[in-house]
Symmetry: C2
Subunit: 134 residues, 2 copies
Amino acid sequence: MSSAWLDEVSWNSDGLVPAIAQDVDTGKVLMMAWMNRDALEATVREGFVIYWSRSRHKLWRKGETSGHTQELVDLRLDCDSDAILARVRQRGGIACHTGREHCFYKELQAGDKLSWQPVEPVKKAPGDIYKSDV
Amino acid sequence: MSSAWLDEVSWNSDGLVPAIAQDVDTGKVLMMAWMNRDALEATVREGFVIYWSRSRHKLWRKGETSGHTQELVDLRLDCDSDAILARVRQRGGIACHTGREHCFYKELQAGDKLSWQPVEPVKKAPGDIYKSDV
């Protein structure tokens, strides 16, 4: 695959770029993770979003365990070429490993003092999403 | 200001967290930039989004020169507490310094080869946005 479009991305010093996934049907911002060059190239080639897992140090095919894949609709690069927006169709309607629709479920709320409060329901229990193979 | 909510954020090794701004009226993802602790605290205190400029090494009150401020509607923190989503009202309908509605205006397109192509119009020329004081 010709790589000029990959060269145009401003990879950070770790060779990564932040990637935001947005649900094309609901408009919700689902999650933010990271891609390296291989992940971005594979995302385009396979048509499903693939991140780089910084904790596992390997390509992370989103949904490979849960089935909650993100079908790629289109990709955008920002003005400074250092952030990517992937518009996706979220399989299963669940992007978050907690079983919620998206990862941004903690809202800053005022009260006696400011605090982050979960404001969105768990649609499916994580234990039912990540069944171990017996 | 009580700081427990600030302590809950997983700041990276540079003391920063990625912050995504989404237009609450259109649903568009406007931009992604960075906040440090002071920027996040000031964002909440002032009710307008304030980033940390990594190039200028100072707080960046979005819109301080252009007038294209981002009025804060609400703030979300993701499951891992290492990304922030700010839902905003974008003053002037322009978030990008290029004069476009948002920063994610380069779309990956197929053709002879893949390339990033600008697909959104400039709403206001940058020269008219950033007028020098005479």
